[in-house]
């Protein structure tokens, strides 16, 4: 690189470092974020009670575990997929690629995701595919497929399942596949894994009907 170019680079570096405004976060934002972090803190009440109760420690520990077990509606993954479904419902254009069939939608994801979503419900007249888009499930990208059934919208999110806070509930079988069936904010949710991918189906459709689609998706 020539000397002149070196000097031009240095001048730009100095300009950016010294004169580019770097606004600081407002105090109110700092306060709100600190509050968010504090809310993560486990309650300190119960350990103190346990120490003082001695003989009741074992029983209290059981109560403690139960009391701290997150309710299904509090599970972060469940909360996230319901939020994502609400975004689909509220979006002016819920899909980025409108469907001419699954064979048009699936290739659209290549190059946009670092995994290939495996979706086996193809051109099924009972489950018309509206289209697809990219969304996020917590910290990772997800393929979103939007289906309809009568007047109901169904969102299917497909994402790498590694190290996600998967809820622990009684198994709900979709054929041979073990799923979790839950309800949050009036929406039914089915969560299951196939190989290294996680699947979340969310809709106001009845759980019975949603499971029909779940079984098709979970089928080998």
């Amino acid at each position: 690189m020539s000397t002149r170019q070196d000097e031009a680079e240095r001048a730009l570096t100095e300009l950016l470092a010294e004169r580019l405004p770097r606004p600081r976060a407002p105090e109110a934002l700092h306060a709100r974020l600190s509050e968010l972090v504090v809310k993560q803190r486990p309650s300190q009440r119960w350990p103190g009670v346990l120490a003082g109760l001695g003989a009741f420690a074992a029983a209290a520990a059981v109560l403690l575990m139960i009391s701290r077990t997150p309710a299904p509606s509090e599970n972060p993954l469940l909360r996230e997929v319901v939020n994502d479904h609400l975004r689909v419902l509220y979006a002016q254009h819920p899909v980025e690629i409108e469907s001419g069939g699954i064979h048009q939608v699936k290739p659209w994801f290549s190059g946009r995701l670092d995994f290939a979503p495996r979706v086996t419900v193809e051109d099924d007249p009972e489950w018309p595919l509206v289209g697809g888009s990219i969304s996020y499930v917590l910290d990772r990208k997800a393929a979103t497929f939007v289906y309809t059934r009568r007047l109901h919208t169904i969102s299917l999110f497909v994402f790498p399942d590694g190290e996600l806070p998967w809820p622990q509930t009684s198994p709900h079988m979709l054929g041979d596949v073990q799923a979790q069936a839950m309800t949050a904010r009036g929406y039914n949710v089915l969560l299951f894994k196939r190989q290294d991918l996680g699947y979340a189906l969310v809709s106001d459709l009845s759980m019975r009907e949603l499971s029909l689609l779940g079984e098709k998706l979970a089928a080998p």
Partner: protein, 178 residues
Amino acid sequence: MGAKLRVMGPDKAGEALGREALQHVDALYAYAHYLTRDAQRAQDLVQETFARSLASARSFTPGTALKAWLFRIQRNVFLDQRRRETKSPVRGELDAEIVIGVSKDDADYDHLRGIVASEIEAALSALPEPQRSVVLLDLEGFSESEMADVLGCAPGTIKSRLARARAALRELLKEYAR
């Protein structure tokens, strides 16, 4: 054992990560400021970034770069929001890079010395998001591999993208300097 981990894990992980993440609020906000170009949206973006980070604290690998992880989440949230606001379902690439050849007129660097803060802010804001981001991440002191992680591209492309972004920025700044 499994039940105990479920009970104790998420809260403690979230709080520990959150406390460390609070050290990066100003850096996240400055990045959000240049992503959104709007003070209120920048605040909302940082808050959403925190909410997502805390919710997925268990997927963070201790010992890896927390700041880069937070920046990656924030950029993904921003792109996701912008994508949802886009009116047309199928669109072209919004963020095609400004490609400017290396200027022969490098003596113009002298003009850069007269640039004021508002002009450099405007020039940076005029860059497409990927170029703006790579300049800002470089300023934050991220390594090339960390920048690649934040931007979701191969480490090998960072150097060339940064060079193109800086060349584009220099050309834009020359306009202000005239």
